[in-house]
């Protein structure tokens, strides 16, 4: 027996450890509830105070219906049927009372239907308005947020702020809130009327409530914790099987099928163990609630009828209590589960407000960049990314004349991309200044900068939609001829014309999947459509295979003509065709010059040159 107990204990300890492990990073609420709620009220709900007020009034009225029925039944039993009194009554005596009772029942049901409809209907409109406003504000905020936010946060998390979280807030500040209030009203009204009918019996019922409430509040958090852990384990199984099935050729090549199955079995067993614990807690809670209800019902009925016998109570009054008790227990049930959920809702409210409170983008300047030539000047620029201690650019100065082609080279982390980030004013320099045509970018409107300087990213972005829609993303008002011209210059036109519906072909998640080279050309076409004076190419060919890379490079050479362009590259072949090469290392310019100059100079460039030359 002790052996079994020890096994059981060890098992439980293991499960606890597993849980702790899983719950380590769960979110907890650390804000001020009052502050968040008052903000929710003042900023979002107050404007709807009229419908909210009326729905509260209606809810209050609605809450009385259960007790009207119970009182009517009491009247029926005591004054119409005269049950258990042994007094014989004739039908004639009973009929008026019966008609009155029937009228009350039918009338109350009518009232219930009307009030129920009205309160749902009223609050629905408030909810719609709330969700619309919150989503719109959040989306606007996202568009205005600093680019750094998106580097810190996962896309999925940001999305669930806008979609799921807002939905939860709406539900809990409208429909659920009214339901919770209805439960409170019903509890208060019920207890009040019951006290009025017979306070001794009522106290007997109320005596069980703390026990009931206690059981819920003790067990519910445990269930919530376990459920979170279960969800996480489940997600873990998803991720694991996705990873392994996705790389099945590796699993096979290393002959690991059996071990993987064993690992999966382990996970599955852990999952089942947790699931059974949830079932134990949940079942236990339901059972406790059931037992308390059963006991209380028994005691109340017994005591009630014992008092009827002693003439201290009428049968109708006992029937009243029999009808009212389940209703009271139901409200306790509702309220205690709310008590647990509401904490999660506060977390949700807090994080939505947190997003709304994020600092916005760089302060826009007043100057509009117009008719620029494309002269770029970096003057003693020093820059840190907020999360890093080491500077990304350290006292960097260089100038690029209009129409010049410049290659940026250097090992990863040298600060190449930072140059682009500052030029497009995604970030502002910490010290020093960046100028385009002599205008300090800090004083310029970011939108106007981006109208003249366009970046083609390393990983090209293709949105769902047609090819034409993707190209036109660069400039909405473009004519079809211009779109085609841009595609031609990006050397994508030929490919597009081989597609059945040509420019109207759907691409992206639900459409034709494009190869890496085609995506690059599409991105290039989008950029070219805007006819930028400054073109920034971020290591555009690194993810392509050798053949495609060579072809894209020819295209790039062509489109760089006649405009200022900076290209980040790892390839000597690309760099040597540029007018100037700037080599960065650890945020500083270490070499600068043409290919001819740098290839014989000791340093990074020559090393790379020799390496790529030798192969």
């Amino acid at each position: 027996m002790t052996g079994y107990a020890a096994t059981l204990k060890a098992q439980r300890a293991r499960a606890e450890r597993l849980m702790d492990e899983l719950l380590k990073d769960s979110e907890s609420y650390d804000g001020k509830i009052g502050k968040d709620l008052s903000r929710l009220w003042h900023d979002y709900l107050r404007e709807h105070r009229v419908p909210i007020f009326w729905s509260l009034v209606i809810t209050l009225v609605w809450s009385t219906h259960g007790y009207i029925f119970a009182l009517a039944t009491q009247f029926l039993v005591d004054d119409v049927i005269k049950l258990g009194t042994g007094i014989p009554v004739t039908l004639e005596e009973q009929l008026p009372g019966f008609y009155l009772w029937a009228a009350i029942v039918l009338g109350t049901w009518t009232g219930v239907v009307i009030t129920q409809w009205a309160r749902s209907r009223l609050i629905l409109g408030v909810g719609q308005a709330l969700i619309y406003r919150l989503r719109t504000e959040l989306h606007e905020k996202l568009q205005a947020l600093h680019i750094g936010y998106f580097e810190r946060q996962e896309t999925g998390k940001i999305m669930s702020r806008v979609l799921e979280d807002v939905w939860i807030i709406r539900e809990w500040s409208t429909t659920h809130a009214v339901n919770v209030l209805a439960a409170v009203f019903q509890l208060l009204v019920g207890v009040g009327i019951a006290l009025w009918v017979n306070w001794q019996l009522t106290l007997l019922v109320l005596a069980s409530l703390p026990l009931y409430f206690w059981a819920f509040i003790r067990i519910q958090p445990a269930i919530r914790r376990l459920s979170i852990a279960m969800r996480r384990l489940n997600a873990g199984m998803y991720a694991r099987s996705q990873e392994r099935i996705g790389a099945v050729s590796l699993v096979k090549a290393f002959d690991q099928e059996r071990r993987e199955t064993l690992d999966f079995r382990q996970r599955m067993n852990n999952f089942v163990r947790l699931a059974m614990r949830v079932i134990n807690y949940h079942g236990g809670m339901v059972a406790i609630a059931g037992a308390i209800t059963a006991l209380t019902t028994g005691v109340v009925i017994y005591v009630g009828f014992a008092w009827v016998q002693a003439d201290r109570l009428s049968v109708g009054e006992v029937v009243f209590f029999m009808n009212v008790m389940p209703r009271l227990f139901m409200q306790i049930n509702t309220l205690s589960s709310v008590y647990v959920q509401i904490q999660a809702v506060f977390v949700v409210i807090k994080r939505v407000f947190n997003l709304l409170d994020e600092t916005v983008d760089v302060t826009p300047g007043q100057i509009e960049l117009k008719d620029i030539e494309g002269r770029i000047l970096f003057e003693n620029v020093t820059f840190f990314y907020p999360s890093q201690t080491e500077s990304s650019l350290q006292d960097v100065s260089f100038e690029i004349a209009p129409g010049q082609k410049v290659a940026l080279m250097g090992p990863s982390g040298a600060g190449k991309s930072t140059v682009f980030n500052l030029l497009l004013r995604f970030y502002d320099p910490y010290r020093g200044a960046v100028y385009i045509d002599g205008i300090n970018l800090v004083n310029a409107d970011p939108a106007s900068i981006r109208r003249h300087a366009v970046m083609v990213q390393q990983e090209p972005v293709v949105f769902s939609g047609t090819i034409a829609e993707n190209i036109v993303y660069g400039r909405d008002a473009a004519r079809p001829g211009e779109i085609m011209e841009a595609a031609q210059r990006a050397e994508l036109h030929g490919f597009i014309m081989t597609l059945p519906v040509k420019y109207e072909t759907e691409v992206g998640q639900n459409g034709v999947s494009l190869s890496g080279g085609q995506k690059q050309r599409l991105a290039l076409a989008t950029a070219l459509l805007t006819k930028p004076e400054i073109l920034l190419l971020d290591d555009t060919t690194s993810a392509l295979d050798a053949e495609t890379e060579a072809r894209i490079r020819k295209t790039l050479n062509r489109v760089q003509e006649g405009r200022t362009s900076i290209i980040i590259t790892q390839r000597i072949a690309t760099a040597r065709s540029c007018d100037r090469i700037i080599v960065l290392n650890r945020g500083r310019i270490v070499q600068q010059g043409t290919h001819a100059e740098l290839k014989d100079q000791e340093g990074f460039y020559r090393r790379v040159f020799l390496q790529q030359e030798s192969i």
Partner: protein, 580 residues
């Protein structure tokens, strides 16, 4: 139904639990239904006739019924859920084993996403079928049947009223439900486009900013949100309508039962306890009535899942090894392709009699344009696919006759897209040999030029890498997969070189690591790098499934107008391009 038969063996494993569970549910339901009847007894035979001596016994029954029911339900629920979880564990593990064992052809036809959905979601649906739907249906049928039966026995008139109420209730539910479903489907569809766009614009936020599209994205989001909320509003309005209608029907129905019943009481045909009990049954039968009529639709959905699961379970691995196949005997690593015929699809043959002999210890560089059949050669060697004619031999042994596991153990593989699993450095390197001694792991890591990187990390080999850990660059990932291959000390190394260009530093590290690994070991390299190609012991130039040239770098260069010469110049051109 045949599909369900396929699941029977799984059910049988847990049949004892399931039987006990169902029996228990029957007891629970009976106890639940008994309470109103005890109440009826209380009113009719105790209170009305003043038999107060019976009161304690009856009250005990009234309290005991739900009390015992709670306990029974608790135990039962446990038993049934345990059976359900046991069942899905079995199904899921069988499926997982099957999926990992299936041929590469199957994996090429079925994306991992689809398979994972079947493994996780569809199996959960089956669990729901066993522990949820079936049990609920069972209970509902009992409650529904008993309520109707009892009410008709006590008072046929009231039974009729109850029946009409239920019919109206179900009818209202169904007519509203279809409207709600249609509306919420269109809402969800709108919501899908919104979230798809949102995902794109958040992940591609730079794209949006670069092209100054913030305002336009806002407008389109607002318009779409408005539209979707419109649908949501309609669906919610229908829900409110449904709720109202249900309250109306149930309320007036129960009122009708009470009124008609009480008229009978007043006339002396019924007793008050009868009406009290019948009214309880009315409220008990409403939800089961709806669930029973809904069951058909729900079952069809579940059966789709069952079919998808059974499909995977029934899939036959296409490259089984013979039951008593001998292990491959490791020798020096001579590889022969002898008149190999192979086609992915019957009407499109790739190899028509391919011959190639690779002496032990030599490095073979496979070159040629995309789609020429370089990679296929290596997958055939590992027997991911079976050939249709000819023989592939390793040290004189036909690979189709040896034990598959012993064959796979012979190879070290470096894939083109290096895979790093979520886990520590150690776990990733020791993937093929999980209890490898520490010094061998470190040795493999050093050989793959990972030593410095690991030494820099505070947790060393225990650093978590992959999705949830330290992000590695492509070059580092490649080195991890090289280390993984080295640790096995394979007889034959197969390497699919990555196409993407790396920064020069990583490039140099990888070249150094490779040189070390390839030396003195039979290796096949699907090559994209000139440096790898020129250093190979044997270059095999392929074009549409045939070997067109074969030899060392200098030999092949000497062939005037040769394919290799053309390829070489093309690759070199990238380096030398625009020198002038």
């Amino acid at each position: 139904m045949d599909m369900l038969k396929r699941l029977l063996p799984y059910l049988r494993n847990h049949s004892k639990r399931l039987t006990i569970g169902l029996l228990g549910m029957g007891v629970f339901t009976a106890l639940t239904l008994a309470q109103p009847l005890f109440m009826r007894y209380l009113f009719n035979d105790v209170v009305e006739v003043g038999r107060w001596d019976l009161l304690p016994a009856v009250v005990l029954l009234i309290a005991a019924a739900p009390f015992v029911a709670s306990a029974v339900q608790f135990l039962n629920h446990r038993i049934i859920m345990r059976a359900g979880y046991g069942l899905i564990s079995d199904v899921r593990l069988d499926m997982y084993e099957r999926i990992l064992g299936l041929s590469m052809k199957y994996h090429q036809d079925n994306s991992s996403g689809v398979l994972v959905n079947r493994l996780m979601d569809d199996v959960s649906m089956i669990q729901r079928l066993i522990t949820g739907d079936t049990v609920t249906l069972f209970i509902d049928l009992i409650i529904f049947g008993v309520s109707m039966g009892v009410v008709f026995t006590i008072a046929p008139v009231l039974g009729l009223v109850l029946f009409v109420t239920l019919v109206l209730y179900v009818f209202a539910y169904r007519s509203f439900a279809s409207r709600i479903r249609a509306r919420s489907t269109s809402y969800r569809r709108m919501q899908d486009t919104i979230s798809e766009r949102l995902q794109e614009t958040i992940a591609g936020v730079r794209h949006v900013r670069i092209y100054n599209r913030e305002l336009l994205e806002n407008t389109s989001f607002v318009v779409r949100t408005e539209q979707s909320l419109d649908h949501a509003m309609h669906s919610r309005l229908s829900s409110v309508g449904l709720g109202t209608a249900c309250t109306l029907i149930a309320g007036y129905g129960s009122a009708a039962v009470m009124i008609i019943g009480l008229i009978q009481v007043l006339q002396g045909n019924l007793q008050y306890g009868d009406v009290f009990a019948v009214n309880n049954f009315v409220w008990m039968a409403l939800n089961p009535a709806i669930r029973i009529t809904n069951m058909a639709g729900q079952l069809t959905e579940t059966f789709v899942s069952v079919r998808r699961v059974v499909e995977v379970l029934d899939e036959v691995p296409s490259v089984p090894s013979a039951p008593n196949a001998p292990d491959l005997v490791r020798d020096e690593g001579v590889v022969e392709f002898d008149n190999v015929h192979f086609a992915y699809t019957p009407d499109n043959p790739l190899y028509r009699g391919l011959n190639l002999t690779v002496p032990a210890g030599s490095t073979v560089a496979l070159v040629g344009h995309t789609g020429c059949g370089k990679t296929t050669l290596t997958t055939l060697l590992m027997r991911h696919w079976d050939i249709q004619g000819g023989q592939i031999r390793i040290d004189g042994q036909d690979i189709s006759t040896v034990n598959l596991r012993s064959l796979r153990r012979t190879f070290g593989v470096v894939l083109q897209d290096p895979v790093v699993f979520d886990g520590t450095f150690r776990e990733n390197i020791a993937y093929g040999w999980h209890d490898a001694p520490e010094h061998l792991i470190a040795e493999a890591a050093r050989a793959a030029e990972l030593g410095d990187l690991v030494a820099r990390l505070p947790d060393g080999y225990d650093t978590i890498i992959g999705t949830h850990g330290v992000k590695l660059s492509v070059g580092e990932k490649q080195r991890v997969s090289i280390a993984r291959a080295i640790l096995k000390d394979p007889l034959i190394l197969i390497m699919d070189e990555a196409t993407s260009s790396l920064d020069s530093e990583s490039e140099a590290l990888i070249q150094r690591a490779l040189e070390r690994v390839l030396r003195g070991r039979t290796s096949f390299v699907v090559a994209h790098r000139l440096s790898t190609i020129t250093k190979a012991d044997m270059i095999v130039v392929m074009d549409s499934g045939a070997i067109i040239e074969q030899g060392r770098h200098e030999e092949l260069l000497r062939i005037p107008g040769g394919h290799y010469r053309g390829l070489y110049e093309e690759l070199q051109g990238q380096v030398k391009e625009s020198t002038t």
